[in-house]
């Protein structure tokens, strides 16, 4: 499986993509394949503050529930409200319509610490 080269990745199988002053956050194809059909996505509100490594939401699939961990600390500047009625978009387009939130990082350096596509591919291969 290959991963888009314009994204940054976390060990918890999330991706980030620059979007103006913010970074858009979603979960990777690998995560989606592991979860199976997603039936519910619970996300924070716009304006909420999140802390790197802390839970900011949950994804429920038919079989299981998984936490979403903040990839960096910052403020939530946008939430993908369409996932409320159409969580299956995460399965269909994990890097597109299935995005989850946008974050404005407090510490830009935390972005630099994230993996690129090559490093993430190796991380997945080791799973």
């Amino acid at each position: 499986m290959s991963y888009p080269s314009d994204l940054r990745y976390t060990h918890d199988h999330e991706w980030l993509k620059a979007h103006g002053a913010s970074w858009r956050v979603g979960i990777t194809q690998f995560a989606v394949d592991q979860l199976g059909d997603i039936t519910l996505v619970d996300l924070p509100k716009e304006g909420d503050l999140v802390t790197k490594g802390q839970r900011f939401g949950t994804v429920e699939s038919v079989k299981s529930v998984s936490d979403l961990y903040a990839p960096v600390s910052g403020k939530v500047t946008a939430v993908n409200a369409s996932l409320k009625d159409a969580p299956e978009q995460v399965n269909a387009e994990p890097y597109g319509g299935g995005w989850m939130i946008e974050l404005e990082p407090t510490e830009k350096s935390e972005i630099d610490e994230l993996m690129n596509a090559d490093a993430y591919s190796k991380h997945v291969a080791a799973q």
Binding site: D33, G36, D37, T39, L40, E60, V62, K63, N91
Partner: protein, 369 residues
């Protein structure tokens, strides 16, 4: 790490792009390419094929086999007519459940039994210990494959592949048949809430039978179905799962399976405890519950049922739960005090720190029309 066991259809699953998981030591398909939701709907609307070859198959044989079977089973299996398939519990002397399974009465001297995969070794030991010298216990699990064909289009489809020989088979009966050229035992049983067949055949013939069934099912909108949808389908039909809803700590009466416990003039293992429990009433009951769509929550196995005004607040436990794929919202089963198991009662379930309201519903969540 020990080697995972494979069913004779493992190569077929790989070719179909299944995602395989370790299921009790077996490398089993949890879903195929379509995914659990589409697979679930295919069974409700057309037909689905399930490889359940990991399940255990046992013959009990001998001139005194009916005495042995009568001692083991809560339901009236021994006295059933030949050709009948009977759902029953196997109980401990305490009334707790060893397993739930189906007995197929082949003759007055022979029963075929299909048991849960996770309990096969335990059940065999139980059969050998409890039947003593009354009958022969023959384990054929390792050489027997099992394919379930379920859904509104299943009956006509399999009957056609059997040359019209299965149309007369009524619910919970079985017969020896030839399906797509393969000799098998065909039973009109299942674990999905739909009509259908379960076909048991020798391992070597299973790939041939599977591909013939798949070829017939595909133009009908049918799909191969993994264990993910098997679980969501059985939950909608309120069929219990051993290890979740049934265990050695709960009795069949507490699980709402009184219909499969026949106490009159019988003395099976566990009967005296169940007789007393029936007379006095059960203190806890397995209740079905529904969580409204608007709550945006799913209660799963192990989540506590709480009453915040009580001390201590935990009054029960969710044993199975998930999204109601065909019925909407979230659904589940929980052991609660019997007074709270009445339809319409409001329950509160602690869903990972969030109190979520749920409503007790009686009967199946999904009932086929």
């Amino acid at each position: 790490m020990s080697q995972l066991r494979k069913t004779p259809l493992w190569d077929a699953h790989k070719q179909l792009g299944a995602r395989l998981i370790d299921f009790g030591g077996w490398d089993m398909p949890v879903q195929y390419k379509a995914g659990t939701i589409k697979e679930h709907k295919a069974v409700r609307e057309a037909v689905g094929l399930f490889d359940v070859s990991h399940m255990g198959e046992v013959y009990l044989r001998g001139p005194r086999v009916r005495e042995a079977v009568d001692r083991l089973t809560t339901n009236n299996v021994a006295a059933a007519p030949v050709g009948k398939a009977v759902y029953t519990l196997l109980c401990l002397p305490s009334g707790g459940v060893v397993d739930d399974c189906i007995f197929y009465k082949r003759s007055d001297e022979e029963f075929f039994v299909i048991v849960n995969a996770s309990n096969t070794a335990k059940d065999l030991e139980w059969f050998r210990e409890q039947t003593r010298s009354l009958c022969e216990v023959v384990d054929v699990s390792d050489e027997t494959a099992l394919i379930a064909v379920q859904g509104p289009k299943a009956i006509a489809m399999v009957d056609r592949l059997a040359g019209g020989s299965l149309s007369g088979l009524t619910s919970f009966t079985f017969k020896d048949a030839v399906v797509a050229g393969v000799s098998c035992v065909a039973a009109r049983t299942g674990y999905t809430g739909e009509d259908g067949f379960e076909l048991a055949c020798p391992n070597a013939d299973a790939p041939r039978l599977w591909s013939a069934l798949l070829e017939a099912a595909t133009p009908l909108g049918g799909l191969p179905v993994g264990l993910g949808a098997r679980d969501s389908l059985r939950l909608e039909a309120k069929l219990p799962l051993y290890g979740n809803d049934l265990d050695d700590d709960h009795t069949p009466l507490e699980a709402g399976l009184g219909w499969a416990v026949k106490l009159d003039n019988r003395d099976f293992i566990g009967a005296s405890v169940l007789r007393a429990q029936k007379a006095n009433g059960v203190t806890r009951t397995l209740a079905g519950f529904k969580i409204a769509d608007t709550e945006r929550a799913i209660a799963r196995h192990g989540y506590p049922v709480v009453d915040r005004a009580a001390t201590p607040p935990v009054i029960g436990t969710v044993t199975s739960g998930g999204p109601g794929i065909y019925v909407g919202g979230a659904i589940g089963l929980a052991y609660v005090p019997t007074a709270k198991a009445v339809a319409g009662t409001q329950l509160t379930i602690d869903c990972r720190g969030k109190d979520v309201p749920a409503t007790v519903v009686s009967g199946k969540f999904y009932k086929r029309s």
